[in-house]
Every structure is written in structure tokens, then in C-alpha cells.
């Protein structure tokens, strides 16, 4: 036992990404999380069946994206005049008014980044089953990590609600069918972020690589 401990002491498994402390544990047990004893950073969360849940959820998100992006979110009318809002036409009218930077930022955070997150996760979860796709999947995980915080569906949702309340005394405000799909997509996006664990993808790839060598 003494010898075992001695051997174990030398194999550092992980360093905390927020305080650089060397640790002997690399992964959390299933369903639990690993916390840095020094700075309380969450080092690793290990949701059960991460790959399966993420694959299913990101596919659901992709399906929900179609109605959420095409159907009107809000409908506003004063007397006989009315206007509609979809995910794209706000961006379009800002672009037409000459606010290129603002409109591309709104487009990126509310459409491109969330869509890319769903696409990348679908690709990562399905693609990690084939050895042929190891490199692109690794690249996709990297891209996903960089894109992660730019998907702002929840912030957009709050923006819709603020607009709804703010304009309701000016005219008649109606919730469109697209908003329900959008809310569902936002929920699914958050669940996907929670269920995705990149460690399980890396270990899946490492297991396959070691199996091939042996």
C-alpha cells in the first residue's frame, strides 16, 4: 500500500485551470463534480450518459431552430397597422439603417452562435464514434469551447419579454407561435450546455486509440 501511494504521488492527473494547483484526480465520478480544493473552481462535471443526452438534445435544438427562426415571435398592432418580429427581420432593418456592426453582433449572438453550437455538438456526439473523424471532432470541440459564451438565447428571450412589456401600453401586443418554439429552443440549448462533458468525448477517443494499438 505504501508503495502504491508512492507511485500514485508522482502521477499528476490534472492542474486547476483557475489556480494552477496540481491534482491527483482527473475526472469526477459519474453524476458528481470535481471541485478544486484551493480555489473552489469546478474542474469537471460528469453528467450521466453525457454523449447520448447531448446528441439527442442538440438534434432537438436543431429541429426547433427551424420554426423559431421562420415563424414570427411577436406581433404588434396600432389601429389597423401591424408589424411582426422574427429572428432575422430585426437584424435586417438594423442593417438597412446602416448599423452594420450592431446588426452583425445581434445576428452572431442570437442566430449564428446558438446554431453553430447545436451543429458542432451534433457533429461531436455522432462523429466521435468513428476513428476517421478524430481530428475534425477535436477541432469541433475546440471551436465549441470558444463559441460557448457567445450563444445568448436566454438574453434574447429576456429582451423579447422587456420589449413585450415596454410596448404593451402603446398598442396591441400579441405573442406569435415562433416565441413558444424559441423558448423551447432556449431551454434545450441550456440543457445541452449542462449535459455536454468534453472529457467523455476525449476518453471515448482515447479508449479507441488504445484499443487499436493493443
Amino acid at each position: 500500500m505504501d508503495q502504491g501511494q508512492h507511485r500514485r504521488r508522482k502521477t499528476w492527473q490534472r492542474a486547476c485551470h483557475e489556480c494552477d494547483l496540481l491534482l491527483l484526480d482527473a475526472v469526477a465520478p459519474p453524476g458528481q463534480k470535481l471541485v478544486c480544493p484551493r480555489c473552489n473552481a469546478t474542474l469537471h462535471r460528469n453528467p450521466k450518459n453525457s454523449v447520448h443526452y447531448t446528441a439527442a438534445l442538440s438534434l432537438t435544438g436543431l429541429l426547433l431552430f427551424v420554426p423559431a427562426a421562420t415563424l414570427p415571435l411577436l406581433h404588434f398592432s396600432i389601429f389597423a397597422f401591424g408589424g411582426e418580429n422574427t429572428l432575422f427581420n430585426g437584424v435586417m432593418s438594423l442593417f438597412d439603417a446602416g448599423y452594420y456592426w450592431l446588426s452583425s453582433l445581434v445576428l452572431f449572438c442570437s442566430v449564428i452562435a446558438p446554431l453553430a453550437k447545436f451543429l458542432l455538438l451534433t457533429f461531436i456526439c455522432w462523429g466521435s464514434a468513428w476513428a476517421l473523424l478524430d481530428r475534425p471532432v477535436g477541432l469541433a470541440v475546440r471551436w465549441y469551447q470558444h463559441l460557448k459564451e457567445w450563444g445568448m438565447l436566454d438574453v434574447y428571450m429576456l429582451g423579447v419579454l422587456v420589449a413585450l412589456v415596454k410596448m404593451s401600453d402603446l398598442g396591441k401586443m400579441e405573442v406569435g407561435p415562433g416565441l413558444y418554439c424559441f423558448a423551447a429552443m432556449m431551454l434545450v440549448a441550456n440543457l445541452t450546455t449542462l449535459s455536454f462533458d468534453q472529457e467523455s468525448i476525449w476518453s471515448r477517443m482515447a479508449r479507441r486509440a488504445s484499443g487499436k494499438v493493443a
Binding site: W12, E18, L21, C39, A97, W101, L102, M152, G159, V165
Partner: protein, 243 residues
């Protein structure tokens, strides 16, 4: 459950917890793989995900300072210039972020006013202030409580995205209320400045390396220990002579 903490204490006479940098290793910030760094402190590519790994983010403090100063300067036009104009039945004037909040408050919608105030005024200001506090604590000899600093860092890097709320609302209203003379919402030049503030502060929080907090803390603690040791030695040396 909790990982094996502070192993340095068991490994001989060291008083400080063992850090990856002391062992010539580093954590890949993208995939969290432990990577052995080449000698001389050069960056290398992570063998697992291919991202560039630095022992500490390259020029972290300098880049963060630059972005924080940019953000602070941009906060002025973002708050002075109008962000949008609501024209209703031919009347209406441009409103800035603050006057938009005041309008909501005076209309009795204080809940919404509070949300907009927090998202578009409190969050950017708090974020810039928080980063400045962290940078000063690292660079100057100011008291530093690392766990508190970490809490501040996590809040600063977590809340930033919510300040885009106002811009999303503008983009929704611009499309929704577009009825010519009866009612129309148009964006104002302040919104461009505000969008840049949000992007700049989010990038600033990303470029700040929290490991530097612990480096500064460990350095100061090591200095205190050293001072105490030398004082103890001096006392020992001085004691026989006095007696």
C-alpha cells in the same frame, strides 16, 4: 470526492501548495488536459486538442488593461449618445440608456426598469471596476484575499453577456414598430458604442488569467515566510551574544 489538496505539504519542507508551473507543466485552457511544457517557458500545442498552451496567458495583464481602458472610454459615448428613438403619432425624442430606464420607471414599470438598469448600466460598470480592482491587486502591493478575488473574477466573467439585453430589445423593436408616421422605432449611434463596450469587456474578462491572482498571493506569502525565517535566524544568532 474532493481532490488531493495541497500535496506540497506532504512532500518535504515546502510550505506552499504545488503548482503545475513549478513542475514544468500546464493546463490546456480549452480541453483541461495536463500538458508538460518545453523547457524555457515556450508555448506549445496541446497534444489532445491542438490549442496553444501557455504557462500563463500571454501578456494577460497588459491586454486586459488595454481592453479595460478602451471599454471605460467607450462607456462615455455609449451613455451620452442616444441609443434609440421612439416616435409615436409624430412626437418623440431620442433617448439614451439612462433616460430609457427613467421612462420605464416613470411609467410605473419599475420591475422592467430595474432589469434594464442592472443589465445595461450596472453590469458594464461593475465589470470594468471589478477587472480594475483585480489588476491593481495583482500589480500593486495591495492586500489580496485570493478566494474573494476569485469570487469577483467569476462574477465578472459570468455576468457580462447579460448587458446585450438592451441591444436585443432595440433590434426587436426596430422590426416590430415600423409603421411610418404612426409609430416608429429607430436605433441611435449610442447603440454602436454600447455594443463595442460589451464585446470589449467580454474579451477583457477572457484575456484575464486568474492563475496570476494565485501567483501574486503565493509570491507575497513566500516573501513573508522568508522574512520570518531570516528574523528567526538573526534572533538565534543574536541570542548567545546577548546572554
Amino acid at each position: 470526492m474532493v481532490a488531493d489538496g495541497a500535496p506540497g505539504q506532504r512532500e518535504g519542507g515546502m510550505k506552499l501548495p504545488l503548482k503545475a508551473r513549478a513542475r514544468g507543466m500546464s493546463c490546456c485552457l480549452v480541453c483541461h488536459q495536463l500538458v508538460t511544457m518545453p523547457a524555457g517557458g515556450d508555448p506549445r500545442h496541446c497534444p489532445r486538442c491542438g490549442a496553444r498552451v501557455h504557462t500563463r496567458i500571454d501578456g494577460s495583464l497588459m491586454v486586459t488593461w488595454a481592453l479595460v481602458i478602451t471599454g471605460t472610454l467607450l462607456l462615455l459615448p455609449a451613455n451620452i449618445l442616444p441609443v434609440m428613438t421612439v416616435i409615436y403619432l409624430g412626437s418623440g425624442e431620442p433617448s439614451t440608456i439612462i433616460s430609457g430606464v427613467m421612462q420605464l420607471y416613470h411609467a410605473g414599470l419599475w420591475g422592467i426598469a430595474l432589469i434594464v438598469f442592472v443589465a445595461s448600466i450596472a453590469v458594464p460598470v461593475m465589470k470594468l471596476l471589478g477587472l480594475i480592482i483585480l489588476l491593481i491587486q495583482i500589480q500593486l502591493r495591495v492586500p489580496l484575499i485570493p478566494l474573494q478575488a476569485m469570487k469577483l473574477y467569476r462574477v465578472v466573467s459570468g455576468i457580462g453577456r447579460w448587458s446585450l439585453l438592451d441591444l436585443f430589445m432595440i433590434s426587436i423593436l426596430v422590426a416590430l414598430v415600423d409603421m411610418g408616421a404612426i409609430a416608429q422605432v429607430t436605433a441611435g449611434p449610442g447603440s454602436t458604442a454600447f455594443a463595442t463596450v460589451v464585446v470589449v469587456t467580454m474579451t477583457a474578462a477572457r484575456s484575464f488569467d486568474p492563475r496570476l491572482i494565485w501567483d501574486a498571493y503565493d509570491e507575497r506569502r513566500a516573501a513573508v515566510h522568508e522574512e520570518r525565517d531570516t528574523r528567526a535566524q538573526e534572533q538565534q544568532r543574536g541570542a548567545p551574544g546577548n546572554a
